[in-house]
């Protein structure tokens, strides 16, 4: 192992240009992440042809750097404009944007950046030290475990409701329901398409998120008819002080663990990791009702989780040759073109490649801190422009971004419709967070429940009685019951108080 790191370091210092590659790729990644519609996947896919001129190690360094940078980049526009630049940053907007609106945009960006770097470094360390055993452990996760994990995340909806549990549940169920439009994941038949072939595309997640967050926000601000020019003033990005940092340390640790593990599960990635760790942050918080109003944990949780998921999703790629996320799937394609056969032997036969990438990802996370501050500052300059210009520009960016993603015009329609829908939800004070969690985790829960039942021959007991599944499901039920009990108790206290004051 030490030898492997030695040869990796020898490679890096023998090829000083590789440092330039890492610098370039991190900046490229942050830029792609921060523009809505240009996601990390696109950033990686566009660079693959350029890796032909490099050796495979340099090529993979380049792609890994983009992956690291883009995962943070999404949070910049999420915080400043409520427009998640990439799907995994959607969760960051839930508390990041409210904090920015309170005039603390710089603080929000700083927390996002610091959490991203900590999560990213945590994920990389897990990748360095634990890749083979983690990959093996992740194989124990079959459909029932995926289902239980998704359910655990969904049950947090009851805690997120803020004022009203009922509204939280209604919004969550709407999210779950809307996600079923399109092609059935198991039988491939059409659902709720009403014979309209364009609805086969379904309500896909990215257009729905961009609509409910960004477009709805523009609509709302247009409706307010006030000059909101000066709302976000403090945009000088500051990293959090040690005291602020220590206050979120438990959240950071919990989210990084969740992120690197969920990242290691094939088929679910940074977005799921961000939402589940947000759910957990709410669940374990002493003041769950504050989430959504701009609390530090609400930014730290998703940002550390989605960045640690980067390292996590490299685990099955390098240890087994199975990509842990959509971005790593594109990277796998890039490796194949270089004549490298991804598989369990990769870590033994291509030690230099693998360990150089480990070190490269480490460096990329540190560089991200340096460049992140600068780039966030440039982005923030946009806020000095009047909203009458910024608002329409955001709409245009959302439309082109959503279209650019799949070149599918139906997605633009979905985005516009979800914008109107998100606007309504806000007006009626239904929590967007619950809606989006339903939309993201619902399809995972549905698909894995049905896969698991096919495997278990529709024996529900066999499905639920697996140890990990059972623990997660019991935990979900307990948290649901506890959540309702807490609500009920608070409600009773309030009524008693009013009763005594009246009496």
């Amino acid at each position: 192992m030490l030898e492997a790191y030695g040869s990796a370091l020898a490679y890096l210092f023998g090829n000083p240009s590789s440092f330039l590659l890492i610098i370039f790729s991190v900046i490229w990644g942050i830029a792609f992440g921060s523009v809505p519609g240009l996601t990390g996947i696109v950033g990686v896919a566009l660079l693959i042809p350029f890796t032909f001129v490099f050796d495979p190690t340099a090529g993979l360094l380049l792609l890994a750097g983009v992956y690291v940078g883009s995962t943070f980049g999404g949070s910049i526009s999420a915080i400043l404009f409520n427009t998640p630049g990439s799907p995994e940053a959607a969760c960051t907007a839930l508390d990041g944007y409210p904090m920015a609106k309170k005039g603390q945009a710089g603080k929000a960006l700083g927390i996002a950046l610091a959490s991203s770097a900590i999560g990213g470094i945590f994920g990389t360390i897990v990748l360095m030290l634990l890749a083979p055993p983690m990959a093996q452990f992740a194989l124990n996760f079959g459909p029932p475990e995926y289902f239980a994990l998704a359910v655990l995340g969904i049950t947090a909806i009851s805690a997120i409701g803020g004022g009203s549990v009922l509204k939280g549940l209604v919004a969550g169920l709407l999210g779950l329901g809307i996600a079923t439009v399109g092609l059935d994941p198991i039988t491939g038949t059409e659902r709720f398409t009403f014979g309209n072939l364009s609805l086969l595309t379904g309500i896909s997640f990215v257009p729905a998120i961009i609509g409910t967050f960004a477009l709805a926000e523009v609509l709302q601000r247009a409706g307010e008819r006030v000059s909101t020019k000066d709302v976000i003033t403090d945009v000088s990005t500051k990293l959090p002080s040690l005291k602020e940092f220590m206050a979120t340390r438990i959240t950071l640790l919990r989210s990084s663990v969740i992120g690197s593990f969920i990242g290691a599960l094939p088929g679910v990635g940074a977005t799921t990791a961000a939402f589940i760790s947000y759910s957990e942050a709410v669940r374990w918080s002493k003041r769950p009702e504050d989430f959504g109003t701009g609390v530090a944990e609400g930014i730290a949780a998703p940002e550390s989780a989605n960045n640690s998921a980067v390292g996590g999703s490299m685990i099955p790629l390098l240890a087994l040759g199975i990509p842990g996320s959509a971005t790593t799937a594109v990277m796998l394609g890039g490796l194949t073109i270089h004549g490298i056969i991804p598989g369990p032997l990769l870590m033994e036969t291509n030690t230099q490649l693998v360990y150089t990438v480990f070190i490269g990802m480490f460096i990329a996370n540190i560089l991200m801190l340096i460049f992140g501050i600068r780039m966030a500052r440039y982005f923030a300059l946009v806020l000095k422009a009047p909203y009458a210009l910024v608002g329409p520009a955001i709409v245009v960016l959302c439309m082109t971004g959503v279209y650019a993603l799949n070149s599918n015009i139906v997605d633009v329609g979905v985005m516009l419709a979800m914008g109107a829908f998100g606007f309504l939800l806000r007006k009626l004070k239904y929590p967007i967070a619950s809606f989006v969690i339903g939309l993201v985790l619902g399809p995972i829960a549905e698909r894995s429940l049905r896969q698991g039942l096919v495997i278990a021959d529709y024996n529900y007991w066999e499905f639920a009685a697996r140890p990990i599944t059972a623990i997660l499901l019991v935990g979900s039920i307990a948290s649901l019951v506890y959540g309702f009990y807490g609500q009920w108790k608070r409600h009773r206290e309030v009524t008693q108080k009013t009763a005594t004051s009246n009496g």
Partner: protein
């Protein structure tokens, strides 16, 4: 100045110029970028296929060929986009068994395509994890016949190519297995982790795990054994006619100019024969039965495929 009399002459002249234009163009066709629409993600198998052909194509034709990825909706948005474009010889579509399935299900119409060239032809396998109790395909079949539907086989996508291949397997062998649709990476992890008994996968993507000894192929769906897997029997030699494989091909619009079709096939076949393309094909382990088919042979092949897929999809109860 134009008098009334000269107008018809001018019009006739203009018409003549217009009519002769395609003929003149055919000689220097292609004179600009050729776009290839496909329904898969950038960096995926089809996207890489188009890029691999495009690289030598550019040198041979002097014009570039670019893949256009239009994803989602079971391939319908990509199909619609292809239909809406002008049939001028500069728009092609990368097609695969997915188009045949969409045709059989009544969503797309193969008659709207002019088959141009089938380039890649892959072969599927039934692969089990290393610790599977089944050492040979005979044991696998015997168990499946005694316990119909008990064995689970991971596949990618619902009601797609993999489902059809395994459906044909069920029909031909009577060794009925239950398919479980996954995303491609989840399919592999669920098979490795023993959540399902086996998976249906092509050699290229599975070879890393086969070479490391983590997975064992039991049977290959091809006419002949693969030279790299000399001990793995084909379904055909066991007496089951299951040779369905995933293929990748180019098509033009049905009303494409025949001269354009001939010229384009010539260019594509030169590109495919180039060392650059052959190298990429070998790296993806697609060389075993990827015989280039021209427009006529490919059209025949499509007819056979439609017949087979119709039979299987009807047996699966997916057609109306």
């Amino acid at each position: 100045m134009l008098s009334l009399k000269t107008i018809p002459t001018a019009a006739a002249l203009a018409a003549a110029t217009l009519l002769s234009a395609p003929a003149a163009l055919a000689e220097d066709y292609p004179s600009r970028t050729v776009e290839v629409i496909h329904a898969y993600g950038p960096g995926g198998g089809t996207d890489r296929f188009v890029r691999a052909v495009a690289q030598p194509f550019e040198e041979i034709a002097g014009q570039s060929m670019v893949p256009i990825s239009i994803q989602g909706g079971g391939g319908m948005p990509a199909y619609a986009n292809f239909q809406q474009r002008r049939s001028d010889g500069y728009t092609m579509k990368a097609i695969s068994p997915d188009q045949i399935i969409a045709h059989v299900l009544g969503r797309q119409d193969m008659a709207t395509f002019q088959p141009l060239a089938r380039v890649q032809y892959d072969q599927g396998m039934i692969v089990v994890p290393a610790d599977s109790p089944f050492q040979t395909i005979e044991e696998f079949i015997a168990h499946a016949r005694e316990n119909p539907g008990d064995l689970t086989v991971g596949i990618t996508g619902a009601a797609g190519f993999d489902d059809t291949a395994m459906g044909l397997w069920n029909i031909e062998t009577g060794a009925e297995v239950t398919t479980v649709p996954f995303g491609s990476s989840e399919m592999v992890s669920n098979t490795l982790g023993g959540q399902v008994d086996a998976m249906h996968e092509e050699f290229g993507p599975a070879r890393g795990l086969i070479e490391s000894g983590d997975m064992r192929p039991l049977v290959v769906f091809s006419d002949e054994r693969l030279p790299v897997l000399p001990d793995v029997p084909t379904a055909k030699e066991l007496g089951y006619d299951v040779t369905l494989g995933r293929w990748r091909a180019f098509a033009m619009p049905a009303d494409a100019d025949p001269e354009h079709v001939a010229k384009m096939f010539d260019l594509v076949s030169q590109a495919v024969a180039s060392d650059a393309y052959q190298e990429v094909q070998e790296q993806a382990a697609l060389q075993f039965r990827s015989v280039l088919l021209g427009p006529d042979e490919f059209a025949e092949f499509i007819e056979q495929e439609i017949a087979t897929y119709t039979e299987v999809l009807t047996a699966l109860g997916l057609t109306e």
